[in-house]
């Protein structure tokens, strides 16, 4: 009786394993399959070779995402610090405020930002009312980056905030005791101790930024093709599935490698924390 049960218990993961093979592993194999075949199903490298013509798109995407990630870090780190230093009751409210945008659909947030920045939008109406020339914002690279920052900032702040909250405040006192002023405390103690949070924040902003297509469609006004847009367009018609698959494959590998590298860092940091 007991044996049978413990066997059943261990077998409980089987449905999930079957599901994972069918709907996680198999789809990825299909991506690889499509990337290396042509419309007739025969093996070819032409899809991969074709990617070189997309190299500038990769470059632009990577640049935009890097800038957006860096800005998020620059804005988010002090914000996380201020939140973590406020009263516990206020902190709870502030984290809810921070999480609320994360739960509101990205579409709605991006779209609302666009309506604000649009030529006939509120910002330009304000500028005109104040006697300035209206500024075209939607359709510029700056707007796309701004959209990324706006959409993903909370994803940077939250993990950093969590790691700051976990940090024992005695370390701050110890640093002050040993002669650090606030800046020295920041760079010698707080920054290294919150490194895991920073790394996970960077991952959580960079990955969706580099793969987005809605932000660039709306705020870029179609002037900026990012990897996401390019992939999305390939899957509108069956004839270009193969190129799309090749693009996806490359992007996935790039991202998985960078995430793995980041994790190496954050694992080491993690050991230090423990």
């Amino acid at each position: 009786m007991k044996k049978k049960l413990s066997f059943l218990e261990r077998a409980a993961a089987v449905p999930h394993m079957v599901w994972a093979i069918m709907f996680i592993v198999a789809p990825l194999l299909f991506v690889a399959y499509f990337a290396f075949t042509d419309a007739n199903g025969s093996f070819t490298l032409s899809n991969i070779e074709l990617l070189s013509s997309y190299s500038h798109i990769f470059l632009v995407s990577i640049c935009f995402s890097l800038v957006a990630t860096f800005c998020c870090l620059l804005i988010g780190y002090p914000l996380a610090f201020v939140i973590s230093r406020s009263k516990p009751s206020t902190q709870k409210l502030l984290t809810v405020l921070l999480m609320l945008p994360m739960w509101i659909s990205l579409l709605i947030r991006t779209y609302s930002l666009m309506t604000l920045l649009d030529n006939g939008g509120l910002v330009n109406s304000l500028l005109t009312a104040l006697g300035f020339e209206p500024v075209t914002m939607v359709g510029t690279g700056g707007a796309v980056i701004l959209g990324m920052i706006y959409d993903f900032l909370p994803y940077m702040v939250l993990p950093i905030y969590t790691s700051m909250q976990k940090m024992d405040h005695r370390y701050l006192e110890a640093a002050a005791d040993l002669g650090c002023n606030s800046f020295q405390t920041m760079f010698r103690v707080v920054l290294p101790l919150t490194a895991p949070g920073i790394l996970s924040g960077i991952t959580m902003v960079f990955v969706p930024s580099i793969s987005t297509f809605y932000i660039s469609q709306k705020l870029g006004g179609g002037n900026f093709d990012l990897i996401g847009d390019t992939i999305e367009r390939q899957f509108k018609y069956p004839s270009t599935y193969h190129v799309g698959a090749a693009l996806s494959l490359v992007m996935m590998i790039l991202i998985l490698i960078s995430v793995a590298v980041m994790n190496r860092f954050s694992d080491q940091e993690g050991e230090m924390i423990v």
Binding site: A11, V25, V31, L79, W103, S105, Y111, G120, P159, P208
Partner: protein, 271 residues
């Protein structure tokens, strides 16, 4: 210094909320403009409720959210049980690694990969339009699964194994001890897993975009299609309603004891 940092914080929050607030305010705008507010009215809400496509999308979204969350919770809870009892480290590691793939992969790759699977299946099975309700259900269940497992598995790990022995000692059969002692302790994790799955499904756009068809729309897909062209102002009303619903849910969840921190889970998963 303190005043400076406070100002900075509220400034960032203000910028974070400004676009959303503008959207909410203008959803009550009498006229159809985003630059001038001409008067308070529920006009766009009325129009929204007469929009049968929007209502159908809402129904579809709810069907999907409930269906995929239930499916993911059942499969995921059993999977967590199995993973907790499993002794082979390598199998365990492999299952964990595969489970986490949808969490680490960009959504667009997950969506594309599933679409290719379905398209290829359609070719093999000779079905003309495979994409729709059922492919959506499969996709949503798949990306919810890791979150469910991640919220249930720690509960199994934290469960004090001596409690089970105590139950056996007091005369429970192994099955009784599981249902009477272990399950109640796991339950909060199961519930928060379900809520995670539910909200993720409601919120998902990117993956749905690839595995759905025009005749099975969810709310995010409806919003996407609306914003692709000239926007009907009832969209603002819809967005406002969604924001209000999320706010209510978030408050509820927070008061119910801090379930559902998406980032934390994602972060743990990435590790």
């Amino acid at each position: 210094m303190k005043i400076l940092s406070r100002t900075y914080m509220w400034l960032v929050f203000a910028l974070l909320y400004a676009p959303i607030l503008v959207l909410v305010v203008f959803s009550f705008n009498e006229g159809g403009s985003l630059s001038s507010y001409t008067g308070f009215s529920f006009r766009w809400y009325g129009e929204l409720f007469r929009d049968s496509v929007a209502l159908q999308s809402l129904k579809n979204s709810l069907f999907l959210a409930v269906g995929s969350a239930t499916l993911a919770t059942v499969i995921g809870t059993f999977a967590a049980l199995g993973l907790d009892r499993m002794r082979n480290r390598y199998v365990k590691g492999a299952v964990n690694a595969v489970t986490n793939i949808p969490m680490m992969n960009p959504d667009i790759v997950t969506g594309v990969s599933m679409m290719l699977l379905f398209v290829a299946l359609a070719g093999i099975l000779n079905i003309s339009d495979i994409l729709g309700r059922w492919t959506m259900l499969i996709a949503h269940t798949t990306f919810s699964l890791p979150y469910v497992i991640l919220s249930v598995l720690p509960r199994f790990r934290q469960f004090d194994k001596s409690l089970r022995e105590a139950a056996l000692d007091l005369g429970c059969t192994p099955a009784q001890s599981f249902f009477k002692v272990e399950l109640p302790q796991i339950l909060p994790g199961v519930i928060s897993g379900f809520i995670m799955g539910f909200t993720l499904s409601l919120d998902d756009f990117v993956i749905s975009h690839f595995v759905s068809s025009p005749d099975f729309q969810t709310l995010p897909l409806y919003i996407y299609n609306q914003t692709a062209h000239n926007v009907k102002y009832s969209m603002y009303a819809l967005c406002t309603l969604i924001i209000v619903a999320i706010l209510a849910l978030l408050l509820l969840v927070n008061f119910a004891g801090g379930i559902g921190d998406r980032t934390k889970r994602r972060k743990e998963a990435v590790k």
